[in-house]
């Protein structure tokens, strides 16, 4: 699938979807309200895909993603308000520096993150999330608990789609190489990977940092789309929702992440479910998936369906 995706078929698909959506927007068939929802869906795709990198390919679940996003968002807003370049260039700088700030934070917490066993890492990432949130609330230059309002609106549809497409292409490019194979084998048998010459520590660090970078960029896009940010948007419950999307889509399964992120971002608005129930449904689905998941880190729906089909055939015959 990876080879085909990277070839013209995959790129055509990406471009094709873009054209369809663009036509819809320009011709007013997709109105402003839905355009915003789609854009949020694209941002969520970036977040979910990068979280899948950090967790599915590393075998460690972490809840720090909304902290990376918060850092990226606030840094980006700070840059776009204070730097001296013309508007959109500021934004580009802001996105990049937001990503870098998130990466630096990831780097700082990665040293302990690598050494602490999985379940304590989750608690540590919850703690990191809360620290970031509390810092934002308490530091007045960051707007305190009422957040920052009146952010310039830079994230138009084409740009957000472009960033998302670049990130997806980047991930596939890496996946189909020796680095991608190395990253995929680490969660399966880390000692064996090491003995094959793979530097597991730096590989994990690299992936963790890249995932944080993408989350930071997504945070910048988010801030300039919503035009308002406040600390409560970046609670660790958002991390949990993202993790739910990752698990439902399948750990290690990039296309699954894209699909589940899109569906879960758009569904609540299709069915008019209030925000209270939205999180509940995501999380319940995640729990159901975990209950029925076979004991492996990489969930493969294709295999699951194939096995189920074979079981059914056996019963019929």
């Amino acid at each position: 699938m990876t080879k085909r995706f990277l070839s013209y078929k995959g790129l055509l698909l990406l471009f094709g979807i873009y054209l369809v959506l663009l036509v819809g927007i320009k011709s007013e068939m997709i109105n402003f309200y839905w355009e915003g929802i789609f854009k949020l869906a694209l941002i969520n795709i970036i977040l979910v895909v990068s979280l899948n990198l950090a967790t599915g390919l590393l075998g460690q679940l972490n809840l720090a993603h909304s902290a990376f996003m918060a850092i990226g968002a606030y840094t980006c807003v700070f840059i776009t308000r204070n730097l001296f370049f013309p508007g959109f260039i500021n934004f580009l700088f802001g996105l990049f520096l937001g990503g870098m700030a998130a990466t630096i934070f990831a780097y700082l917490i990665s040293a302990p993150a690598m050494k602490i066993p999985g379940n304590y890492l989750i608690i540590a990432t919850i703690a990191a999330n809360e620290i970031i949130k509390d810092l934002i609330i308490n530091l007045n230059i960051l707007g305190g608990s009422s957040g920052i309002h009146g952010i310039n609106y830079y994230s138009n549809f084409s740009f957000v789609y472009l960033i998302m497409a670049l990130i997806i292409i980047f991930i596939y490019v890496i996946k189909d190489s020796k680095y991608g194979r190395a990253i995929m084998c680490i969660p399966q048998n880390e000692m064996l990977a090491k003995s094959c010459g793979i530097d597991t520590f730096h590989s994990k660090l690299f992936v963790f940092s890249i995932a944080a970078f993408f989350a930071g960029v997504a945070g910048g896009l988010y801030a300039h789309e919503m035009t308002v940010i406040e600390p409560n948007m970046f609670d660790f419950s958002y991390s949990l929702e993202l993790l739910a999307m990752v698990i439902i889509g399948g750990l290690g399964n990039i296309i699954g992440s894209i699909v589940s992120a899109f569906i879960f971002s758009v569904m609540p608005y299709v069915f008019n479910i209030g925000s209270e129930l939205k999180v509940v449904i995501h999380v319940i689905m995640m729990i159901i998936v975990i209950i029925f998941m076979k004991k492996s880190l990489i969930l493969d729906y294709k295999r699951f369906l194939v096995d189920a089909w074979n079981d059914m055939k056996k019963k019929v015959w």
């Binding site: 995929m184 399966q188 064996l192 090491k194 003995s195 094959c196 793979i198 530097d199």
Partner: protein
Amino acid sequence: MILLKLNKLNLVFNDMRVIRDLDFIVEEKEIVGLIGATQSGKTVLFDLISGFYKANTGKIYFEGEDITKFSVEKKSQLGIARTFQNGSIFSELSVKDNVKIGFYNFINYNLKNVILRSKKFFGEEKRLSDEVYNVLKMFGLEYYENLLAGDLSYGLQGKLDIARAIACGPKLLLLDRPTNGMDKNEADEFMDIIKMVNKKFSTAIVLIENDIDLMMNICDRVVVMEYGTVIASDKPVEIKNNQALASISFS
């Protein structure tokens, strides 16, 4: 020519001396059997050689170079390959990808080539595919190349294990109970494969097994360990017939 030399190694875990004053030598192209009671330190010795544990005192020399403090990855790049007890394959990767990982140290492109998808990248990947196919053919695994490694039978997994380990022609191969779980026929077939690997790749092999009969035909030398140190080192026949050692239960 001495390939690997262990000199007075000591390892202490939680106030317990696991390896004590261990001396061990492996010559080039030699097949050495390693045997001993449980907990006598055989696997720990492998861990020390490959770098998962660092000895408290003592030195390890590989081809004359002091590699005592090297990391696991660096030792692998020098040409030390190893398998682990209970199957060391990547069960969620395909058979082909498992062997590709075996070639990891010898793929010559960097991140820039990957991102820009340069000619070098495609060239190396093609070369890799060809070499992987050759290795699989050598072990009779070429028909399974796209199956998931976890779906293979136990015997085939063992073969895949070796295929991955010798993919880049290491100078030293450490095998930790590779025939665990195999029946007698599979185990004998496996020993033939080991002999073939040794001849074809000129790889020195250290083999941990529980059954001295398996070692009779292929090992040039058998080393007996007990309580973390070497107590005997001789031809297999001599070890088997040695009355003093017969009292040690090999398991």
